[in-house]
Chain length 351, copies 2
């Protein structure tokens, strides 16, 4: 039995219904820029324990909502929970970035890879979702998420963050069939994972394709977008979905046609031009340069207004940054952002 | 008195004249993947000495032409010669990336910045150009180049390579007037530098905007493209120009309208679609994913043919990678690339 959601601006926008102002949430809103987050994380000991302890994951999910008039909560977790559940041995040390103890180095490694049962190895995630939903008390919608299969595969094959993606690109070019085997497994694991998050109560889901933008036009469609499309096709009808490829500016039409409800934008595109390109049949999410959050309150407000103005009247827009908020952002800048977006966008809405 | 150029395919394409096949050169073709380059570099001691010694710079410029049927030579140098000549104290250590001993940290630093005289502090570059032109004996055209003012400014303000560009973005958002003062100085230095290269004999020039793609749509136009346009306006008529912004896919129309003769493409865009967007009034350069060069000969050939096919018949195309060739590329893969492009593109040309 679902609780009614009192602030449903974000869900209304996704359904194309009128709203009083533009909803906003912030990628990585539960994060290191918040002192209360750092305190809970210290209590957990490390990032992965924080993800895997539902009570603590719930606590940090709710923290930004206590400070800011945000229009959504997002499950506190990490895109690498799936490869971790597949047995690759994830470690997430600050400053070093993610590392896998057992990266995929051969076709045999890929063939041996298990598809985890989200009710078992990933139970801590669905437990966190249930707990967060209970604690949210219908205040705002809860966003579930996963990484795109391509993005997960980059970490699984490289073993860590990469700039050039030499190993994974070697795989897709030299052994495309093996790459497809891997991506298909990850996609199946991901759709099961997102279905479990939905059953546990998330109101919408987002796919983060952080590294799709490293691919060529053709390779993006074959090795990244195709698997996001496959995942979307496996999700229950009626649950809104957001697809975000960082650096995906050249491919927004293809993303919009993937079956998603909303297209995430980084900050390189002009949202007004994107609205013209894609039309009003789809919702846009984004697109503030995260570097703006490090400037000063007047600039944060000015740049936020500029995006709201570029989007214009009656558009379907969920305001967000074009990538995650960074640890050095002064927390008061987020207040300025959220309040400016709400206030300045009222002139463009009529509900 | 200019020597006639025997292989002028590249210049013909830039003028919109028919060619027998698609010309090709490779960004960083004089580079660490070549054993003879590494030998000369070891002889020089370090990278900067190699740049600053005209005989050695000439030698490495010519090395790839002895191995491959390339359609152009490119001056061996570095985009950071200008800030070095401005007194910032450049060091280029392998693996560490470029560093400046005296990065710009205040408005006073920027106001005090001298605009170097290319006939004096940068004389080693024009000397290298004269020497290369003499040694080339009109075999192929020689490309001169510079970094874009925005790209140079990122290094000058950050002091080194950056992922987030926090300082320089802080400057453009918090103190745009100071940022413009800096960019204007760098643009004036750059146009004088390119004019000097042209006087010394280069046949065309290219602007490398490696970090323009880190900017928002609006900031790109204001802080990167505007200064490249200003430089192009200061160059003598009749000298072809190439502008390349890595990650510039969303802005190709604006780049094409900047006054350049050719638009550089990274590998995220489909060159066939770009040709449709921009029309046949401008030349395109690119757009192979550099990661392909690390795969195997059959894949190098296949991916090269795919781009030639995507470009189609009668188009104005200079084949290249979408970014610099990397040190681990087997030298024989470059032969495969060059020969495949020449051979496969003949069917699309009629000269």
């Amino acid at each position: 039995m679902a609780t009614a959601i009192s602030n449903d601006r974000l869900l209304r926008v996704l359904r194309g219904e009128p709203v009083d102002c533009t909803p906003i949430w912030v990628m990585r809103q539960a994060g290191r820029y918040l002192p209360e987050y750092r305190a809970t994380r210290n209590q957990a000991g490390d990032f992965l324990t924080l993800c895997k302890t539902p009570e603590l994951a719930c606590e940090v999910t709710l923290q930004p909502l206590r400070r800011y008039a945000l229009d959504a909560a997002i499950l506190f977790s990490d895109i690498l929970t799936i490869p971790d559940a597949m047995g690759l041995g994830l470690s997430l040390e600050e400053g070093l970035g993610p590392r896998f103890a057992r990266p995929l180095r051969s076709r045999a490694d890929i063939d041996a890879l298990p598809v985890p049962d989200p009710g078992d190895e990933l139970r801590y995630v669905t437990d966190a979702v249930s707990l967060i939903k209970r604690e949210l008390k219908g205040q705002v919608p809860l966003i579930g998420f996963a990484g795109s299969p391509w993005t997960l595969a980059t970490y699984m094959v490289e073993g860590q963050s990469s700039r050039e993606f030499t190993r994974i690109k070697g795989l897709i070019y030299n052994d495309p069939a093996v790459a497809h085997t891997l991506l298909d497994k990850v996609a199946r694991a991901t759709s099961a994972y997102l279905r479990a998050q939905i059953e546990a109560g998330v109101d919408l889901v987002m796919l983060f394709d952080t590294w799709g933008g490293a691919l060529s036009h053709r390779a993006y469609h074959e090795f990244s977008l195709a698997y996001m499309r496959a995942i979307l096709a496996e999700l229950p009808a009626g649950v809104p979905t957001v697809v975000f490829t960082k650096g995906g500016g050249p491919w927004l039409e293809s993303i919009a046609a993937s079956g998603c409800s909303a297209v995430g934008l980084d900050w390189t595109v002009d949202i007004g031009e994107v609205r013209k390109r894609l039309g009003d049949g789809i919702t846009l999410q984004g697109n503030l340069d995260p570097a703006v959050m490090l400037t000063k309150p007047s600039v944060v407000a000015e740049e936020a207004r500029r995006i709201v103005d570029a989007m214009g009247a009656g558009g379907r827009h969920i305001f967000n940054l074009g990538h995650g908020i960074t640890p050095e952002v002064p927390p008061e800048h987020v207040s300025v952002l959220v309040d400016t977006v709400h206030e300045h966008s009222r002139r463009y809405h009529c509900a």
